[in-house]
Subunit: 590 residues, 2 copies
């Protein structure tokens, strides 16, 4: 397994050189998040993730989870690592102080989550999934519900899950069948079966709080008849609730995480939020969950890059076409070969570009919670709405590509389990599927976020990009990047207009263009983040004692613009080719 080293220099560069974190935290009243404090948190988090979580990544994959009468047992070491994680106070980092948290902004928790997720994605899903439950209770819970559940979810003493999917419905939740019958004491009896429940059962915490989507008697059909319920594994009176893991799924990867079939057999549940408004309640923090999944794209790219890079420096094969670089050895290290560098640079461009995008988004999450005024809050919320489906779908697709490059750099050895590179691909493969597939994100972006707002959310973002280009079009060293970015940014608007016109004639055009529109948007967005990093690197370059890091940023930005960004053109051609080439064929002719 590749050894994980948290990329602290890159993280600090983003925080302090690109996004001016000190000013950001000061503005939202989070003075605790000083530079010293942030650096201390990052160093301590890096230590924990590198030394405790990373060593359990491969063993967790090999051992997997097991189900017995007593429930799910996680792989050796997972439980102890979680206890240490809770004792160290990591789960409560970004939780509100009134519920036992440390009250730091969400973006600080994000930094730690990325490290944990890169070191061991399967493990990180146990605390990760608690976020949804915690947020549901925090936003929609009664004071009593908050008192019972929120503190212990915040400290990590208990974990949580989101129980949405059923065997016959995933993307289309309107079809769900789980029932909730009211009882005399104000609680409900929940009956039904949910599948694909990540961290649905385990031995790491003493209680698990399930947030369950179910239908009340007589509820309207479809998505408008879904309510949310809190269903704890252990009820407040200490008795065992009638919710049980019925089976573990056998999956391609993330073997260390228990993906459960959860059976609710007249389990006691408590309504949270208004009746029949369950889906709306969930959408209020869906963006956050999706950013959490987008992070898996960055995590896969980063870990696979670190593994491939070490191998590329070590493995000897053939000579550089420019003459031997390792004349005393039997061959040159493969990093001398341009095609190996192409793969490494692609991984690096996706890992660092994706991280830049997500750090920006996590600052928007902070602003949604704590902006100085409503205008700023709304702007952050809009930006988040627009960029989240792009981040979720594009970064996970990029992460999967990057993980595959990692295997490829290893040649045949990449296919062998002991090296750990193929595990990264298997683990990453889920990321384009769960929390809404790439296709679902694409429809969300083009349909809901762009066309339903008459392009407003897009315009908000392209305006930011445009202003950035205009302010820096004379910037030394990065002029070609700015020029290219500006052209793509303009084209983005033009393409959207064309598709909008087609969609007015035929709504289905949206479905035909959505995927390529999303990928185009992803490549252009990432170009913006790379240009921002290049600008910041250029600014640091002159005064820096060691210029290596900043020069590498500039080199990687150039690589991204020259070798990766042109893919956007292919997506443009595909999406503008029209719906007919997808729909002409009869179903029976496939």
């Amino acid at each position: 397994m590749p050894e994980y080293k948290a990329p602290l220099q890159d993280m600090q560069f983003l925080l302090f050189d690109v996004y001016d974190a000190e000013n950001h935290y000061a503005r939202i009243g989070a003075e605790d998040a000083s530079r010293d404090m942030l650096e201390a948190i990052m160093a301590e988090s890096a230590r924990f993730c590198e030394q405790v979580l990373a060593p359990l990544n491969q063993s967790g994959d090999q051992e997997g989870c097991t189900l017995t009468e007593d429930g799910v047992t996680t792989p050796a070491g997972f439980r102890e690592a979680y206890q240490q994680y809770v004792e160290n106070g990591w789960p409560s980092l970004s939780s509100p102080a009134e519920f036992g948290g440390q009250g730091l902004p969400e973006s600080v928790g994000h930094i730690v989550s990325e490290m944990a997720g890169t070191a061991n994605w399967a493990w990180s899903m146990y605390p990760g999934l608690s976020h949804g439950a915690r947020n549901t209770v925090a936003i929609h819970g009664t004071d009593e519900q908050k008192e019972i559940y929120l503190t212990r979810l915040s400290t990590g003493e208990w974990t949580g899950t989101m129980c949405l999917t059923e065997a016959h419905c995933g993307s289309d939740l309107g079809l769900l069948k789980t029932r909730a019958e009211p009882t005399d004491d104000g609680s409900y009896r929940i009956s039904g079966s949910k599948i694909f429940i990540s961290s649905g059962d385990h031995d790491m915490a003493e209680n698990i709080i399930h947030i369950v989507l179910a239908r009340l008697p007589g509820a309207p059909a479809g998505t408008k008849g879904i309510s949310l319920f809190i269903v704890p594994k252990i009820l407040p009176d200490g008795t065992r609730n009638a919710v049980k893991c019925g089976a573990l799924e056998h999956k391609m990867g993330i073997h260390g995480n228990a993906t459960c079939v959860m059976n609710f057999d007249e389990a006691t549940g408590f309504l949270i939020g208004p009746e029949n408004k369950g889906l709306n309640c969930m959408f209020t923090f869906m963006n956050f969950a999706r950013i959490g999944t987008a992070m898996q794209g960055v995590a896969s790219a980063e870990l696979s890059y670190q593994g491939a890079l070490a191998y590329a420096k070590d493995r000897l094969a053939m000579r550089s076409l420019a003459g031997p670089k390792n004349p005393d050895g039997p061959a040159d290290p493969i990093i001398v070969h341009p095609d190996v560098r192409r793969m490494l640079l692609t991984q690096k461009a996706f890992a660092e570009g994706g991280r830049a995008m997500l750090y920006h988004l996590s600052q928007q999450v902070d602003l949604v919670h704590s902006a100085q005024d409503e205008e700023e809050r709304q702007a952050a919320d809009d930006l988040l709405s627009f960029l989240t489906p792009i981040a979720k779908a594009f970064l996970t697709e990029a992460g999967l590509e990057a993980s595959n490059h990692g295997v490829q750099v290893f040649g045949g050895h990449g296919y062998i389990q002991e090296w750990g590179m193929e595990q990264i691909v298997r683990d990453a493969r889920i990321s384009t599927l769960y929390e809404g597939t790439t296709g679902i994100q694409a429809l969300d972006l083009l349909g809901r976020k762009v066309l339903m707002t008459q392009g407003q959310l897009l315009k908000n973002f392209t305006k930011i990009v445009h202003r950035f280009c205009k302010a820096n079009d004379g910037a030394r060293g990065i002029k070609p990047l700015i020029k290219t970015l500006n052209a793509y940014n303009k084209d983005w608007g033009d393409i959207t207009t064309k598709i909008g016109m087609k969609a007015m004639m035929n709504k289905e055009e949206v479905g035909g263009a959505a995927y390529d529109y999303l990928m185009y948007s992803g490549y252009v967005s990432l170009a913006y983040y790379w240009a921002r990093m290049a600008l910041a690197a250029q600014e640091q370059l002159a005064g820096a004692e060691d210029k290596t890091f900043y020069q590498a940023k500039l080199d990687t930005a150039r690589f991204y613009f020259e070798r990766i960004l042109p893919r956007a053109e292919a997506h443009k051609a595909a999406m503008l080719s029209g719906l007919d080439n997808l729909m002409a064929m009869d179903e029976g002719a496939f």
Copy 2:
């Protein structure tokens, strides 16, 4: 696991409507390969692959191979299936009659191999790997060696392997260390350890003939000091040779195939071919082995397509944006959604386009063996040399993409082992690695095949494409395809000239452009094969009673040209962006 149905209609369409197989076989003196005979072989092969091999695909993955003191045990059913395969005469189909074969052309064997490989790739590698050993003996063996080994390799009574890779060298065989010491009786003692030996040991045949690359005492260093040896598991006198499987690799996929570490401990070997010319001897049939691996790309795309298609027709989720298509059901089948069709059509375009390419190549293999004159033989050989690296690298990359689409169509269910879709991805993942990685194929194409021939091999092919376009530029229904193909074909030459100029200034430019050049070549080549299929389909359409199949060909061709082929432009931009964006960064700055 998806059920496999051999795509007989597509295969017959290629043979008889596109490639005029009857005329082809008549010209090479293979009158036995009549239409009736071919159809009978295909029907019988389909039956065997669908009913015997396909049901062992998933169980073979789950059970895997085991190693004991007595050697390797293959998964339940593999041995019996192989015995039936041998009894039915399948291995000897394309073997020369003088060595117990049925004397049919290689291209007939190719049809059967594709079916077997699609039904169960891991199983098909046991007979598949024998080809290399069989061809080595057939071409380079003495009469005595042919008598001892060839007949039983031809009938399948024995299987064979190719033992090339060592732990420290795969692509760079010049580094290999296995030694061969001459003995008094004319044989050699072979000592060393080989890794990644597919089908290296098993319980399916009574003997295994290893073709081993090793160095004679005092042999020149590097690739010019490698010789080939026959090392049978059981020696001709019936004694067990000192060659043994030391370990089985734990791999991402193809679990049903034994990937062995083979230890040679002063094993008895027999020189085959001239001393120190081992690599040259191997290159004589390397094209054939690489076409065999290209086939895995087609097989993965086909199997994953069949699985995804069945699911897309069955799974209900959401309504068509054009209005309900299944108004009596709770939702529409997902095949109504444009984005699902995009994925299915991509799989279909790769599977059928790749098959068309390989059928063409397999006819060239026939011509290399049995052309009417030397000019025709040389033309076929040149075409094969040029197209083989494209087919190997591009079709396996396409197969991997297609398999991932198959998972994606299933949503979260695609990630679950029981559906079998993720296995196709895991099995396919090896195909871009073994038999020369994509990067190695790319260097072979651009360096050896194109630039070292001053573009002659490329020109031979673009001339064929050009003539095809010219002859059909007025063809009804496919004019836009012809026009587009002609433009890409011309551009291919122009791009090559530009890269050739750069390479004259700096040899390393070849390495910087090779991958994108290969992918560009792949997309354009596949466009040619799709145009040929479209032309043939258009010709059949008028007279056909059931037009469905032919119309689907035309629709898929259009999809390929409008939605897939534009990717070539992104590869063009990347390869023309120059070497510097890959090499500028210091090794230490990565």
